[in-house]
């Protein structure tokens, strides 16, 4: 570990030590966010251990994406602290977060359809010599890296537009990991995908887990998939985290019941109001 924060007592204050005494990759403390009259997040507490995969589930509009966008520096929180590797940080921009090793893969993937796979891989981190793009070097590096990650595409020269949903998702994830992300935020990486494509991504995430140097937060809707790849699950309801369990201690049934109960309550409230 060359990581300055981990295992180095100079940086680790008691407040940021997790239960087993190691430094968390990421801690979110008392974070709140409002958009006008809407409370998107209320006093959020969340932690992510080194090499852990955390599943973030919850209803549409519960605040999952807002939380993710705060963690990647897109939004800034109204209050609360974010602690990365034992050090409090104020994320000023996406670039700033990225320089700290936090990278997000959004639902829309932020891929440029018209550009080739390798240009997308290196977007905003291009290799340049004398102001000119080193296309050959980027092409070779992209090909080698995607092979190593087991991502199957016809050619790194293909425009991203002509790839399948799973391939595009894989490239977006590979791009984030390749850029040396230590904390990876995945916003619904499995949405709108067939079983074959889901397998590609699950493989990729498992591979990252085996390496152990990347900690991941995944937003997902399919509880079966969440429990399969995640070590721990947090449930977000109305801007608050209402459940925090290890995957081994919960089940699809339990998570389903909680969400169904929430729907019932919403329905009852409506009926009472009407």
């Amino acid at each position: 570990m060359t990581d300055p924060g981990s295992g180095d007592s100079k940086f680790a204050s008691p407040a940021v030590l997790s239960a087993d005494g190691t430094t968390d990759a990421l801690r979110v403390e008392h974070v709140s966010k409002r958009f006008g009259a809407v409370s998107a997040l209320v006093d959020i507490e969340l932690h992510l251990a080194q090499g852990e995969i955390l599943g973030l589930i919850g209803d549409n509009g519960a605040g999952k994406s807002t939380l993710l966008k705060i963690l990647c520096g897109f939004h800034s929180p109204d209050s609360g602290r974010i602690v990365v590797n034992g050090q409090e940080v104020v994320l000023k921009s996406v670039d700033h977060a990225r320089s700290l090793g936090i990278d997000a893969v959004y639902q829309d993937l932020a891929l440029i359809n018209q550009l080739s796979v390798y240009h997308n891989m290196f977007l905003n981190r291009e290799r340049v010599r004398w102001l000119l793009l080193s296309n050959r070097s980027m092409r070779r590096a992209a090909r080698e890296y995607l092979n190593e990650m087991g991502v199957n595409i016809p050619s790194v020269d293909t425009p991203v537009a002509s790839l399948s949903g799973g391939q595009r998702q894989a490239i977006a994830v590979a791009r984030a990991v390749y850029s040396d992300a230590k904390i990876l935020l995945l916003d619904e990486p499995l949405a709108a995908m067939g079983a074959k494509e889901v397998a590609v991504i699950l493989d990729l995430v498992r591979d990252l887990k085996r390496r152990g140097d990347v900690s991941i937060i995944v937003i997902a809707h399919n509880y079966g998939q969440v429990l399969e790849i995640c070590d721990r699950v947090n449930l977000l309801q109305h801007g608050q985290i209402t459940l925090d369990k290890r995957s081994s201690e919960t089940s699809v049934q339990e998570l389903n019941d909680i969400v169904v109960a929430e729907y019932r309550r919403a329905l009852e409230t409506r009926q009472r109001a009407g």
Binding site: F74, S93, V94, D95, R98, A104, Y106, D108, L109, A110, L111, I112, N113, Q114, L115, H119, L123, N124, E126, V128, L131, L132, L133, N135, P154, S155, D157, T158, P159, A161, S162
Partner: protein, 353 residues
């Protein structure tokens, strides 16, 4: 070029994809069209060559020839301003914007130089520099209006264009001016020599081709036009790219204005306007630039400009009056754009596996 060559080799090396070839001549035609779509510049080049051969042949039977040096100079001087403005419009169209004002920057530029030299006693070089700076500032204002204030560029640049037209007509009293004697010397290099304009145009195309295809600026211009939100999420400074491309277009517009004034030896308030700008946009689109952003080429814009030039000069050369020429012109632009749209569709279909 090497990319397309590689791709072609790659396709040959692979086993024939899918049973598409088995569907007979219809499928073959589709494949040929898809290939033409991939090689957009090549298609336009073929059309240009066919037009040149046609007009060369026809005009040799008639009284004047297409290949006389007078006519070639004529062609080059007609094409150069379109090419140079088309460079800027290509950059803007690719990043998802358009600029209607460069024709009016073009009108005002030589007057500004004239006033600075004759009224304010500026050295010519400094006056030219300030004139180009005016183009840059106009581009910056266009960026401010569209990027920072969020106006659609079609409306914003229409506004700045009219403002510039007003300034030109007011300050010049709508009367012509002559080139200040002190500027005649340097003017030769900018526009008065027979071939100075086309040489500038070609040099600028080469420079911007490299910038567009081989630098981050070009890559980001495509990224911003292809997926604005995605580009922003990737950390690209979207505003900087758009501002910059507006400013480049402004400077190019001012430069063309100076060139035309030097070439015609007169500063004319009716020079410029919408025509050169619309021709430039048409040239860019004929050359394969997507109106909705995300793709385009400088070589295509160059060839599109040459095609419009050959059409216009060619028809007047073979004695067709100027009125029906406009008909042919409009028809050609429409056909080229429809073809582009269809070829794009086929290209995407062909690219999928």
């Amino acid at each position: 070029m090497s990319d397309t060559a590689q791709r072609a080799v790659g396709t040959l090396g692979e086993p024939p994809p899918r049973p598409a070839t088995a569907r007979g001549p219809g499928a073959q035609l589709r494949q040929a069209l898809a290939f033409a779509g991939r090689q957009r510049e090549l298609t336009v080049l073929v059309v240009v060559v066919l037009l040149v051969v046609y007009f060369g042949f026809i005009s040799n039977i008639g009284r004047s020839s297409f290949f006389t040096s007078v006519n070639i100079i004529n062609l080059s001087q007609y094409a150069a301003p379109i090419i140079i403005i088309a460079i800027g419009e290509t950059l803007l169209l690719v990043c998802g914007e358009i600029d209607l004002s460069p024709g009016f920057v073009y009108s005002f530029a030589p007057f500004l130089m004239y006033f600075l030299v004759v009224d304010d006693g500026f050295p010519v070089i400094l006056a030219i520099f300030v004139t180009l700076l005016m183009g840059l500032v106009t581009g910056w204002v266009n960026g401010l209006l569209t990027v920072t204030l969020g106006l659609p560029s079609f409306i914003a640049t229409l506004g700045t264009g009219f403002v510039l037209l007003g300034i030109t007509l007011t300050t010049s009293n709508a009367t012509q001016a002559s080139i200040p004697p002190a500027a005649v010397g340097i003017g030769k290099w900018i526009g008065s020599y027979s071939y100075s304009e086309i040489i500038w145009a070609v040099v600028l195309v080469v420079i911007f081709h490299v910038i567009f295809t081989r630098t981050r600026w070009g890559l980001y211009t495509i990224a911003v036009g292809g997926n604005l939100l995605g580009a922003r999420e990737a950390g690209i400074n979207v505003a900087r790219i758009k501002y910059g491309n507006f400013m480049i277009t402004g400077v190019l517009g001012a430069f063309v204005g100076l060139q035309i004034a030097f070439q015609t030896s007169v500063i004319d308030p009716s020079a410029g306007g919408y025509t050169p700008m619309f021709l430039a946009v048409a040239a860019a689109v004929i050359g394969g630039t997507a109106m909705l952003g995300g793709s385009g080429t400088m070589i295509g814009a160059f060839l599109g400009s040459v095609m419009l030039t050959v059409l216009n000069i060619g028809f007047s050369l073979i004695g067709i009056s100027a009125y029906p020429v406009n008909l042919i012109f409009g028809g050609t632009i429409l056909v080229a754009m429809i073809a582009n749209g269809q070829l794009d569709r086929l290209r995407l279909a062909g690219g999928r596996r």
